[in-house]
Subunit: 217 residues, 2 copies
Amino acid sequence: MSTQTKPNKKELTREKNQTLILDAAEQLFSQLGYDGTSMSMIAKEASVPKANILYYFKSKDGLYENVIDRIIAHWNLGLDNVSPDDDPAHVLYNYVKSKVILAVNQPLQSRLFASEILRGAPYLQNYFRANTRPWVKQKVDVFQAWIDADKMDNVDPYHLLFTIWSTTQYYADFQAEVLLVMNKLEYDETDVAQITQSIAHIILKGIGLKIPEQREA
Amino acid sequence: MSTQTKPNKKELTREKNQTLILDAAEQLFSQLGYDGTSMSMIAKEASVPKANILYYFKSKDGLYENVIDRIIAHWNLGLDNVSPDDDPAHVLYNYVKSKVILAVNQPLQSRLFASEILRGAPYLQNYFRANTRPWVKQKVDVFQAWIDADKMDNVDPYHLLFTIWSTTQYYADFQAEVLLVMNKLEYDETDVAQITQSIAHIILKGIGLKIPEQREA
DNA sequence: TTAGTAATTGACCTTTCGGTCAATAAAGAT
DNA sequence: ATCTTTATTGACCGAAAGGTCAATTACTAA
């Protein structure tokens, strides 16, 4: 919106190239981590001279931050517009389901975040403080309202949220282990339903809720 | 046992130095990852010339493999000697509890494994195939026996195991996120009990079990 | 005492890293 | 047409990476 006044040729090619670079960087950082990825690898993957990357993004750090920022922008944490009046079973079931779908279908971004947090979240600290923490606080308050209204068991809302995050993201971040243990090459169509069903069963029943009727997709 | 016949001075100093190096390497690899750790950093941390490390361990890869092997050797997966005759509630409660204690008190090794699996488990594949997979198979069979005997709900045993692993390890691998979200600097004494309680409540109740009476520690 | 083996380490090698720079090309404004 | 600004890129830089090597030291077995 700031540069909407000039849809020049320059602007267009610049954004095209930046997108090209960011796509390549996202893929490589996700697979190999920050330290495991070099600027020349990104350049080669994006079919762009290395110096051009340094022209658009001032450093490797800058590029990495841009990659993370872009993912965050696309990434809706879900569970929005949830209120104490809602039915916890439906809300949580849908949340689990959407997280499992995300984990199975788009594991790269989840893994990028995971490796970032593993190293102490150097680039995500500020984001967590400014965004995630208040977001979590709000959901936790709703959970607590449900508990107070006897809609569900008295389970610490923070740990309930961590339980949902951990169980669902596990299938993205630790995909290699899951597949090795289950002796599979990749997830198949039935896995999403099977995983969702198992997790939802344990968690919902585990906090005193009933699993909602499932409508055909 | 092969060189037990010669407890020379040489042997002693060799093992002492190897341990020194492995300790330093384990710590650094855990914190910074494989690519983020350099041989000279390890040398400095172990107070040993870099060339000496290359003398004992032929390459960085070799050292890394030795670090992983040593952790695996120390690492008992727990849940051993479990049989269909056991009480699932007690067995699983104790398993969750021991995993939480491990996650909170010794997160470094957990994180080393996590970052290894994140990258596709290049060094752990063989281990998983040879050890973890059969280990899992055995536990899964016991879980299934419990299900068949109506001792617990019919939840896919693999996903039940993944649920236990993910929820407990989360507090080690994603410690940075947990602490940031909860606005803490570190885990305190009450956290282990609180985490154990929350996870055990959800999972045990979630598969139709009762939480065992808790005896004072 | 001495011959032989294992351990130690400073110096050095090649490669690759992130990053700079100057020269050139392309585009927009006048 | 010309001037100014922005993009593009090959060549290059110092630092640090993993690893080698040869010379020296420490130890053991005869």
